[in-house]
Symmetry: C2
């Protein structure tokens, strides 16, 4: 799929998935896109666990009763960073940015291959969910599952959230107050 | 350009740029890609200033003597977030992630359109640079320039940093210690 089409078509899908397997070849292609994302000082700090063992996938999915995509996914991609990221440049670490850039590459790859997904992030930080999932996946204590992406074939086109147009968020040569 | 080709071809370019203008049509197309990136709770928190006034571009570029791409760029894209991001979900904000996802979309768009760029981030946080650039661009005091992307036509193919292969950063169903 052409890049700008993939960017335009990507959206957060939280609906039902077909009962169709996601081949490992596609899952690897998606994660390879994540591996190619930029990272601060080329630190390549994010690691990835592709979960396609259905027992594990369902155990994780059942934790999120409101998100049907996670409950019905045929595979998940867990993105793992350090719990306390080490400074890599002048006292700063970039693991959150590194992970986000990798996630975006993967969401575009998921879109281009005809799958749906949604960036699951804040939900993991509550009620010890990241720790529980980390335990299921053998993630070491010094690491944390930061983002999870469910992957599957969407049953239908889901609803898309509105995006503000160019003039409300972007300007030439000088910041302008956004129209509310 | 096909998505996976854009992902494969994107890299951090810090070299010389041709003395060629970057048309506003292309700059808008790049920033539109950033606007379409996902954001936590659809907050759309990042705003963008496209700098193509050469006096401003050069004034900013001369601040980074080691980065030839920034010094010779014909345009810059400044990504602006809140200095103190407001919590948007259960006490968490996602402005760093939002900005990073938008930057990655824009780097892919820059690649697909035949330009080069590099994600300039940590450098802005030192010696009051983000504040100085924010002042030049009229950024309000409660906002901060988080990332800058120089844009131009690369004179040559620059060096690419090595990336670790799949098995060192990604696994199926269980985290494995990376081979060092």
């Amino acid at each position: 799929m052409e890049l700008f089409e993939a960017i335009r078509r990507r959206y957060s899908y939280r609906g039902a998935f077909e009962d169709k397997e996601v081949p490992r070849e596609d899952l690897k292609k998606i994660v390879e896109a994540g591996l190619k994302a930029p990272s601060g000082v080329n630190g390549q700090t994010t690691t990835f666990i592709i979960v396609d063992d259905l027992v594990l996938v369902r155990e994780i999915g059942m934790m999120h009763l409101k998100n049907r995509a996670l409950r019905e996914a045929r595979a998940l991609i867990a993105c793992v960073i350090d719990r306390k990221p080490e400074a890599i440049y002048e006292g700063y670490s970039f693991q959150i940015e590194d992970c986000a850039a990798a996630v975006e590459n993967m969401l575009l790859a998921i879109t281009a291959l005809g799958y749906g997904s949604v960036w699951i992030d804040g939900w993991l930080r509550l009620e010890g969910r990241a720790e529980k999932i980390g335990g299921l996946l053998g993630v070491p204590a010094e690491k944390i599952v930061r983002v999870i992406l469910p992957v599957g074939v969407p049953v239908e086109e889901g609803p898309r959230k509105d995006k503000k147009p160019f003039g409300e968020r972007a300007w030439f040569n000088s910041w302008s107050r956004a129209i509310k």
